[in-house]
């Protein structure tokens, strides 16, 4: 393996960002805490957390903790911790605006409108997000217990929203698709992921992305082409360095509706092949095999984590005959599909760490059971507006850059219900109606401080 050119201060970066904790950790709790006490009191509680926060330092065999803790903060949370307005002003404007106020831009309208969001998410109530990953249920319960005790001891701290999540069998999400394994390759950290996870090079081959695309205080892709090697804008020190922005969204998935629409639509498709039609919408077969490499039949077995499992591109399939141009994974990560040597897409990558929530709807269920299930989407990126919002607004909720007119990502749905998806073929198939399969139940923009930054927040020396 080539020697990395950038050395990252892993002890200063929180864990689960650069490298996932992994599927050993079968359950995750997201607890949003609201600070209702004076900043000094909140900081005392915050200090108590620090010893338990997991960093990006690699674990040695046998040393994996039974639970992990990570901490992120909203703009309102920074103020509640006593950070000055001036310093908060050095954070990005979309972070300060908050996700709820950007709902029009993000397409959180109709059933996804913040007015319909769950209590505690959206209007600035959430201050600090505690993310707890656990291997075993007993460890999980113990960690939650400790968290509650710490909150109650200090007083004036309240959990305004909590979501407990659990991995589904086969690392699937609720529509039945293997998910979450395709991640960006980061120079100096996950160079081994470059084949498929990096930037596709024009002559074949891949390269890892500059770390500054994901962690602040490091060179990003712009730095690479800057003779003066300037670093990207970041919040004022000591808060900026080693930190990253986090997007958190609770996405309800209407599994019954999805299955019903796919079943009905497949009647007119390719001899009624519902699984193939659904695969065309997603861009992968249920077992994760990418359509562009397996256009007609799902391979019997597919290991998404295998070396080369993620190594595919779209340049040989520009007309979308294998993987539709508007398929979900192709929209979310076009790789080389947009031409121009990848220059339209390489700066819009995200690290994703979401978890499914809620009980599985049995395969043979004929109707919705009214239960809450879906995906907690969590991503890390240096720029919320360029990376998360860019993808959401230009690639998922719109089709123009792909030449798809007003077509939105079929998988997510269209609040107006008039959308369609073209399944390229000879002849093409037009899939409709585009119901609302996914609804935003709430979300927040957060910042994940580095360890030094966390200490400064706890000390009240963040400025």
């Amino acid at each position: 393996m080539a020697r990395p050119t950038v050395r990252m201060d892993l002890g200063d970066i929180q864990g689960d960002v650069l490298r996932a904790y992994g599927n050993d950790y079968g359950s995750t709790t997201y607890a949003f805490v609201r600070i209702e006490c004076p900043p000094e009191q909140a900081r005392a509680w915050f200090s108590g957390l620090l010893d338990h926060v997991t960093t990006a330092e690699p674990w040695r065999e046998g040393e994996k903790p039974v639970t992990t803790l990570n901490v992120s903060v909203t703009a309102a949370g920074l103020l509640a911790l006593g950070v000055s307005e001036a310093v908060v002003g050095s954070f990005s404007h979309e972070f300060r605006d908050g996700m709820a106020s950007r709902s029009q831009l993000l397409g959180d309208v109709g059933p996804s409108d913040p007015a319909a969001w769950e209590d505690g998410l959206g209007p600035g109530d959430a201050h600090v997000l505690l993310t707890i990953n656990a291997k075993q249920p007993s460890d999980h319960q113990r960690a939650l217990g400790k968290m509650k005790v710490a909150l109650d001891t200090v007083g004036g701290l309240r959990i305004v929203f909590q979501e407990d999540t659990e991995l589904l069998e086969g690392s699937r999400e609720h529509f039945g698709y293997a998910d979450g394994f395709a991640q960006p390759a980061i120079e100096g950290s996950s160079d081994e992921k470059a084949r498929g996870g990096g930037v596709p090079l024009p002559k074949g081959g891949w390269r890892a992305l500059a770390p500054g695309e994901f962690i602040l205080g490091y060179p990003d892709e712009d730095t690479r082409v800057d003779p003066k090697r300037r670093l990207p804008r970041a919040p004022a020190d000591p808060l900026g360095r080693s930190g990253t922005y986090m997007v958190w969204r609770k996405l309800y998935q209407d599994v019954a509706l999805w299955r019903q629409v796919m079943r009905d639509a497949a009647a007119l498709y390719d001899g009624g092949d519902e699984h193939k039609l659904a695969a065309k919408v997603v861009g992968r077969w249920a077992n994760g095999a990418p359509l562009v490499k397996h256009p007609d039949v799902a391979p019997a077995a597919f290991d998404p984590k295998s070396r080369g499992g993620n190594d595919f591109r779209y340049a040989e399939d520009l007309d979308g005959m294998r993987c539709p141009v508007g398929a979900h994974i192709r929209r979310a990560n076009p790789r080389d599909a947009l031409g121009f040597e990848g220059h339209l897409s390489f700066r819009h990558r995200m690290i994703r760490r979401g978890m499914p929530y809620g009980k599985v709807l049995p395969e043979d269920a004929s109707a919705d059971d009214g239960a809450d299930r879906g995906l907690v989407f969590a991503s890390f990126q240096a720029s919320i507006s360029r990376q998360f919002e860019g993808v959401q607004v230009q690639w998922l909720n719109a089709g123009n850059i792909f030449g798809l007119g007003h077509d939105k990502d079929f998988l997510l749905g269209d609040p107006q219900g008039t959308g369609k998806m073209t399944i390229q073929g000879s002849p093409p198939f037009f899939l409709a109606p585009q119901e609302v399969f996914v609804r935003t139940r709430g979300g927040e923009y957060l910042f994940v401080p580095g360890m030094t930054a966390l200490a400064a927040l706890a000390d009240g020396t963040a400025g």
Binding site: A267, L268, G405, K420, P428, F429, F430, A432
Partner: protein, 185 residues
């Protein structure tokens, strides 16, 4: 007036007129409110693809640039640009008639604009203040506004037809097609 203003059948017009010094705020306010009570007045000029009004208060001077001397506009200038179909004279004729009420509020606030701000006098004023284009890029310079709108409508029709005709037998398909698209467009 040179051919540099033309690409295909589309024309790129620009007029830059000095704004009477005391009128800048009122002009800006008027322009900002143009859409308050309905569509843009430019919609009255059906040959207009895109149009914009903007007030340039001054040139930008930055001490960090190597520019030896600063340059300042003597007063704010109003820029009007339009990308429209066909020839300039007939377009300006239309503008000076259809936009007479608005012209009074817009160019009527500019230095040297004729009192009436309409008709031949306004046209002369606008032509005098025309600035020729250097390079005019048009993605579809051969298509008029009317053509663009028709083709867009037809595309919508075809999408709906393609979607709803799936599964029809040959006869029904042909019949449905002729019903929707039969005859010349």
């Amino acid at each position: 007036m040179g051919s540099s203003n033309v690409t295909g059948q589309a024309y790129a017009f620009m007029a830059m007129t000095p704004v009477k010094p005391a009128e800048e705020a009122a002009l800006a306010d008027y322009l900002h409110r143009l859409r308050d009570r309905g569509p843009s007045p430019l919609a009255k000029l059906e040959r207009t693809h895109f149009g914009r009004f903007l007030i340039v208060p001054d040139f930008h001077n930055d001490s960090s640039w190597k520019q030896r001397r600063e340059e300042h506009l003597d007063m704010p200038y109003l820029i009007f640009t339009s990308n429209f179909d066909g020839d300039l004279d007939s377009y300006l004729d239309e503008l000076c008639e259809q936009l007479a009420p608005e012209a009074k509020e817009i160019w009527g606030r500019c230095v040297g604009c004729p009192e009436s701000a309409k008709g031949a006098a306004l046209k002369t004023y606008l032509k005098r203040n025309q600035i020729d284009t250097g390079v005019f890029f048009a993605a579809y310079g051969d298509a008029t506004v009317a053509t663009v709108k028709r083709r867009l409508g037809q595309r919508e029709q075809m999408i709906e037809f393609a979607r709803t005709s799936q599964g029809l037998g040959a006869e029904a398909l042909q019949q449905a097609f002729l019903e929707r698209f039969g005859g010349t467009s």
